[in-house]
Subunit: 426 residues, 2 copies
């Protein structure tokens, strides 16, 4: 294996030339068989472990620069790689090896009355662009998912991770070459800074779809500035509604699980709505369970009597994805008021109703306009792994193309194959 440090072979290329190289390489990726793509993925997993020292040295450099630039502790933590995290990354890549290749899957098809046969099959997008912030694990993750689904990838991972990403991209490029695939299929454009991100967002004809991953601000910037089609993976202001007939044990278990099992992720609950006829019965045990886990309660006027240690909730709380052990609690008159609140504040990610009333359950499932709507289950189930997808590209909160947890098929488009024997249109 050649040296992993120093400039990449593509370093001298302009941004446009790199996009063009990725586009050209995407043609080989698109027709590569699954065995070859899996060979590249295994080589990436091996390469990440074999190059641990180089990767960790580069990461040290990024971390030192980050500390100097005053990055927050949270950002520094996400930027940090360790031997254990590298092992985790390699394992994740090997898991993608085991997933079904979506390319070539026949989605539907028929024979037309004149004998022409039409089949809609899954094909790669071509070139997937990704814009994310200082998370080197995403570099490996997106590249591996792109390769498995037959796509080239152009990565803009943020200047804070530039040294780490450069080594990781070299590992990926060498792995591609070792499997007989074009190294150009995965490119980094970190060295072009913000200008590079801006060009990526408008690279129509070179980039087929753009996936932003990161903060709400980043996603908002990409969605509003990009002329390339975007798949929005959004924030989760997630609601659980305790209906009048909710079982107490389910209410306690689900609210606790949805809030505290992993508060820093998008499918954790942010606001608990409680039917007023159930408040007296359910709020004491539910809030007590939350308090025992160290959760801070932000209560509205009608919930405050049940939560003497709570802080008053604000409109801003209702609109915030806390990603922490905070929960807003509001008492509502009925299902309609609950759904009105959800319409106003939800990011349309996941909402769950806890109820034993069939009509209310069906109304909630039908009328709440979110990617995932649940009855009597924890919102933490909104997850590609839990849904059985094996790996997750992200959770889409838009309605076009993909909605909810995205697996490998969501990284593909389709094309229609038409087979005739001389037919013409009458």
């Amino acid at each position: 294996m050649s040296s992993l440090t120093g400039a990449l072979p593509t370093a001298a290329l302009s941004l446009h030339e790199r996009l063009a190289a990725a586009k050209t390489a995407s043609r080989d990726l698109a027709i590569a068989d699954t065995d070859r793509k899996n060979r590249a993925l295994r080589a990436i997993a091996d390469g990440v472990l074999a190059a641990s020292d180089d990767i960790l040295s580069a990461n040290e450099l990024d971390l030192a620069n980050g500390r100097e630039d005053g990055l927050t502790t949270g950002l520094l933590d996400r930027l940090t790689l360790t031997p254990a995290r590298l092992q985790g990354l390699a394992d994740a890549v090997l898991q993608i090896v085991g997933l079904t290749d979506p390319v070539g899957e026949a989605v539907r098809g028929s024979s037309l009355p004149n004998g022409v046969k039409i089949t809609q099959v899954r094909v790669p997008f071509g070139v997937v662009g990704a814009i994310y912030e200082a998370r080197p694990n995403v570099t490996i993750d997106i590249a591996a998912l792109a390769i498995k689904s037959g796509n080239a990838a152009v990565l803009r991972g943020g200047s804070a991770a530039i040294e780490t990403n450069r080594v990781l991209v070299r590992v990926i490029q060498q792995a591609l070459a070792s499997a007989g695939l074009p190294a150009d299929a995965v490119q980094t454009i970190d060295d072009f800074g913000r200008e590079g991100a801006a060009e990526l967002m408008t690279a129509r004809g070179f980039v087929d779809v753009l996936i932003p991953r990161g903060s709400a601000d980043l996603i908002q910037a990409v969605v509003t500035q990009s002329t390339v089609p975007v798949i929005e993976t959004g924030a989760g202001v997630v609601h659980v509604l305790l209906d009048e007939s909710a079982r107490e044990d389910w209410a306690v278990d689900i609210v606790r699980n949805a809030k505290v099992q992993r508060p820093s992720v998008c499918n954790a609950v942010e606001t608990l709505l409680v039917h007023r006829a159930a408040a007296e019965r359910l709020l004491p045990p539910v809030l007590s369970a939350l308090r025992a886990e160290g959760v801070t309660i932000h209560a509205d006027e009608r919930a405050l009597p049940f939560a003497p240690d709570a802080v008053p909730v604000t409109d801003e709380d209702y609109a915030t994805e806390h990603m922490s052990l905070d929960i807003s609690v509001k008492v509502v008159d009925d299902l309609d008021e609950a759904m009105e609140h959800i319409r106003r504040y939800s990011t349309q990610h996941t909402e769950s109703i806890i109820t034993n009333d069939l009509q209310n359950a069906e109304r909630f499932l039908a009328e709440v306009d979110s990617a995932v709507v649940m009855v009597n289950a924890s919102t933490r189930f909104t997850d590609g792994g839990e849904f059985g997808f094996g790996a997750e590209v992200g959770i889409s909160t838009q309605k076009l193309h993909a909605r909810g947890p995205m697996g490998l098929p969501e990284l593909t488009s389709t094309k229609w194959i038409v087979r005739g024997s001389g037919q013409v249109r009458a």
Copy 2:
């Protein structure tokens, strides 16, 4: 039925208020059953015929204004309604009544190991925006497709058709009300001019998807300016390749059909590529058949000897969707040169190879990156009606969400329904 002329009930609303009204109305549309939606559609078909006089008067006014403003003959023709065209519009709406309602269709689903049941079902987008130019038939067409798929619609049909569209929208709104659906579900914003179109393109949170229909310039403007997700229905620079082994009768029939059966549509062929080893055998009969139909041949150097009356082809010809009885003809060395030409000039709409060589057919189908790829069939088959969709929303040339002919299901998103019994995540 109240008067059909004069200002609409929504005339006094601001653009923002109309978008908000459509959004609110979309909630009722989303849960309306098929019978009710079909009742509204039948009322539209009846209403269009019952209001013929008012519609045609309004149309006369638009046409008079258009002539004064110097609209081209083509634009004036598209703007023109006649009793026969109104009958055609009513018939098209009744055809949509007969189509399967996509809303509620279960796309996939499973039981998770813990007993939680997940189902992905089709749901309406919510509010569909449409931007088009001076074609009042699109007003009825898009509104009917939107209603059937449970969506509200906000229509920007161009100031040239403002009088006609106002009457048509009133017919639609009265039909909605007569079926017990909110009249606000279909709105026109023609009276806000270009500013209205600009606002529609950035109405995130109010408009879920935007469909531009019209010229390449219009589509380009929407795609680059919109922050709302767009489904691009693009132009067709469509290719037919005559491979070395192409049957002469199929070559003649398919090229003639693809060019002359309806030259003004996007699936008509624009460029004929011919393998050099087949040029002498195939070009004389093919070009002779085209000449007999009045087609103007634009030939490259190597094709010119077979087409003495041809004009020399230019690079601009190769890139142009003529929509007329013009065809570019180019002789290529082999399949690779043909696919290279297609990569350079195709709009990725439809390409067809005429061949008896199995390997070449499979390479062409696999490697040509277009919405529809064909072997031994006329490109004119790229059509929702021909594909058996019953009606066509348009032909998508983008890769996100929908690609190729779009039917009613392409006007829907999905949502995940999760049914548990108290499960939490471990």
